[in-house]
């Protein structure tokens, strides 16, 4: 009905603009809030929320108690609702929208599914209006009218959908629910009789939750790599803290400490009534011997720095604290690689990936595929970053080579920084170069050390530009640089010069 007509029927009708996007966002928030009942929730159409409560109803004292709790909370927030608990999504959808019962909570017992649906109009089967109209035109007005119809005839006449939706509503065909977000492998919940707002209370609750979660992980012999702590506020919003760990952990104090650092980012609003801690990624973590008091020195002269830790010592807790503030990518370790290309001889890897990897898994095609040809030095001031090889590649038996090769700089620029160089003879080092707007006169030089492309890698041969001649030069102040010339004289392109590193 157009607005003008409506206003003529009922002058003074309150009107407001439709905002479908905001409605959808609000519904999504509501669905997320419903996560307190089960991790499997999703918005349904424009006006509904689906919750899969199989396996979680008993936590609330049964379906009836759960529905009552949900109804009361929705009421308090001023959300008009009808809650239907049924065996199938289809039946619940139909009953919630088309049942004539006046009660706001309907719980459909398993045996009454067919009977309850039979009296509902065909639209209750989640059909689109055109299909429903078609069914009505041939006299199929109620869902029950379809029960007796052969499914293949229905499918031929009205499309596959009708038959499928009918079967799904009647529990003759499964219907999966794709939940909002990720479904955790473990979760623990804490509800408060009174909403809490104080940071100290929130911290206390966080500690309780982590202490709750840890025994479950310990029973399974796993540790958490990724955790999500949800704060369900009284106004229906959900605040979250997500943390990750560099090494699987089930140390309750450590996990709680990781949350504590982020707790000030949580706005409790008028209060938090539920907190749910979910472990999203768990990895095997064998049971460990807790360190004996007073025994701190390791018998190993050089222990693997991350192995065998988690409950007491080691640097894994530190890496987690740093990683959760700066991002796990900010933490790395240096690993040697068997390569002549300077930037490939030392790569940065994630700390937790440095745990021993069997060598037979390491030497594979994958590693080489990912390496690719030697990247050309950048054309501009800042080029694309050199792709680093995958962790574990070519690691076996590689050591930091400090002898046999000319000296290597202590700082290596990645990418190499282009310089403007002046030279006399083709194979000479430059006598002068400009770097970072400063002029350096070359007093002494060593070189060249020719480093060519690794031709055995796919696509690695043939590029003249990929041949580098390295020179170690000293300027008038005694500073030492590692310069290289990319490309050869006599080609179509002029060779270019770069500073690749600085020596001590």
């Amino acid at each position: 009905m157009p607005l003008a007509d409506a206003l003529s029927f009922l002058p003074g009708l309150a009107t407001t603009l439709a905002k479908p996007a905001e409605d959808a966002a609000a519904l999504r928030r509501l669905a997320e809030w419903c996560g307190r009942y089960s991790p499997w929730t999703a918005p349904d159409g424009a006006d509904g929320v689906r919750i899969e409560i199989t396996g979680s109803a008993h936590l609330w004292g049964g379906e009836r108690a759960l529905a009552a709790d949900l109804a009361a909370r929705l009421d308090r927030r001023g959300v008009a609702s009808r809650i239907v608990i049924a065996d199938t999504l289809g039946a619940a959808w139909a009953m919630a929208r088309f049942a004539e019962a006046s009660a706001s909570v309907v719980i459909l017992a398993s045996g009454r599914l067919r009977a309850a649906l039979a009296s509902l109009p065909v639209e209750a089967l989640r059909l689109d209006p055109i299909t429903a109209q078609g069914l009505r035109r041939v006299g199929l007005k109620r869902a029950g009218d379809l029960y007796a119809m052969p499914r293949d005839a229905l499918a031929r006449r009205f499309g596959e959908t009708v038959a499928r939706l009918l079967d799904q509503a009647l529990d003759e065909m499964p219907e999966p629910l794709s939940p909002l977000g990720e479904v955790p492998s473990r979760r623990v919940r804490l509800s408060f009789a009174e909403p809490i707002t104080e940071p100290a209370d929130l911290m206390l609750a966080t500690e309780r939750l982590t202490a709750d979660l840890v025994p479950r992980l310990a029973r399974e012999g796993t540790g958490a790599r990724r955790l999500d702590l949800g704060f369900y506020r009284v106004d229906g919003r959900v605040e979250r803290i997500r943390i990750g760990t560099a090494h699987p952990s089930r140390d309750p104090r450590h996990l709680a400490a990781l949350f504590r650092e982020r707790l000030d980012t949580v706005d409790p609003g008028l209060g938090v009534e539920d907190m749910i801690l979910a472990a999203h990624a768990v990895e095997p973590l064998p049971a460990e011997q807790i360190g004996l008091p007073g025994h701190t020195a390791s018998p190993h002269p050089n222990p693997p720095p991350l192995a065998g830790e988690g409950m007491g010592g080691g640097i894994a807790p530190l890496l987690d604290r740093l990683g959760n503030r700066l991002g796990l990518a900010a933490i790395s370790r240096l690993e040697p690689r068997e390569s002549h290309i300077p930037e490939r001889a030392s790569v940065r890897v994630q700390p937790h990936l440095t745990l021993p990897i069997p060598t037979d898994q390491v030497r594979g095609l994958k590693a080489h595929d990912a390496m690719g040809p030697l990247p050309l030095p950048p054309k501009g001031r800042r080029g694309p970053k050199t792709p680093s090889p995958p962790p574990g590649a070519e690691r076996a038996g590689v050591r930091w080579g400090i002898s046999g090769k000319p000296p290597r700089p202590i700082r290596l620029f990645d990418p190499p920084e282009p310089v403007e160089a002046f030279w006399l003879l083709p194979d000479d080092p430059p006598f002068r170069f400009m770097w970072r707007r400063r002029r350096h006169r070359v007093m002494r030089a060593d070189g060249p050390e020719r480093i060519a492309d690794e031709w055995w890698r796919p696509g690695g041969a043939g590029e003249v530009d990929a041949i580098r001649d390295y020179y170690r030069v000293e300027d008038e102040d005694g500073r030492r640089f590692w310069l290289f010339r990319a490309g050869l004289h006599g080609g179509d392109r002029k060779p270019r010069w770069f500073v690749h590193g600085v020596f001590s």
Binding site: A345, I402, P407
Partner: protein, 279 residues
């Protein structure tokens, strides 16, 4: 000096430091000079040399340095200081020489082979990249509270007094040695920061010196450094010009003289001839 000292293994420098070495469990500041203030290559090399000695497992040859040798005895006033440093070091070795180095820096340009050449096993270094100085200082402080860490290094530009004092206190409390490598991107900041006081126990400046062409050999000669102790709590400022290989820096002959080899070098009188004391 509650946590003992770490001798440099270079007699001339050890003599200038109270206790005969670099204080453990304290904050030390290392500056570059000239254009190297931006790159911090020499500062990193100097730090790597110290860290290499700090992280050596107890069984390594570096231990021989702790033995009272003839090299230390002729020094003036050496006797009292020597015993102090020895006993302190003995305590330090059992405590945690085995551990990691947390190196916090804005741009991860440290090069593994280069570190290895300066005696620091790169496998012991955990790099933490943070773009802002405040984050680097925070990460350093976290590192000072953690277990399994023997030393913390941070490369910062701006250093507020409060931050340096916090670091110094944290280092004192836990006995972990902390190093601040100062890197300045632009001259204005460098001038400003150089003048500011901070709570570090020592302040060093390492500058490169032009190498002397040796015996008519062409090419780059052996690196030489000017090591300046600009400030030292309980000690006098001093400066030395020295060949860098004394500090374990690889020289032009492609050979690496590791710090460990210094342990058995001739006694102090010879060393005294090598250095020209300038300040």
């Amino acid at each position: 000096m509650a946590h003992g000292v770490l001798p440099f293994g270079v007699a001339a420098i050890d003599r200038a430091l109270p206790g005969g070495g670099l204080a453990r469990g304290a904050l030390h500041e290392i500056l570059g000079a000239g254009g190297d203030e931006e790159d911090g290559a020499l500062a990193a090399a100097f730090a790597a040399h110290i860290l290499g000695r700090l992280t050596k497992p107890p069984t390594s040859p570096s231990r021989s340095l702790t033995r009272p040798g003839p090299s230390l005895s002729p020094l003036k006033g050496g006797e009292g200081k020597q015993t102090l440093s020895l006993s302190a070091l003995g305590g330090g070795e059992g405590r945690g020489e085995v551990g990691m180095v947390l190196w916090c820096l804005p741009r991860p340009d440290l090069y593994g082979p280069g570190l290895a050449a300066h005696g620091l096993d790169p496998g012991r270094v955990v790099l933490v990249r943070a773009s802002r100085d405040a984050e680097i200082l925070w990460a350093m402080e976290e590192g000072l509270r953690a277990s399994g860490i023997v030393a913390v290094v941070g490369e910062v530009g701006a250093l507020p007094m409060v931050a340096s004092r916090r670091l110094q206190l944290a280092a004192e409390r836990c006995g972990i040695t902390a190093f601040l490598l100062r890197r300045w991107r632009e001259g204005g900041q460098a001038t400003r920061e150089r003048a500011l006081p901070n709570a570090a126990v020592t302040r060093w400046r390492i500058a490169a010196l032009p190498s002397r062409p040796s015996r008519g050999e062409p090419g780059v000669g052996r690196p030489r450094w000017r090591v300046e102790l600009l400030r030292c709590r309980g000690g006098e400022p001093a400066s030395w010009e020295m060949p860098a290989w004394e500090m374990g820096v690889p020289d032009a002959t492609d050979h690496v003289s590791l710090a460990a080899a210094l342990a058995d070098r001739p006694a102090a009188p010879v060393a005294a001839e090598k250095y020209r004391r300038t300040g």
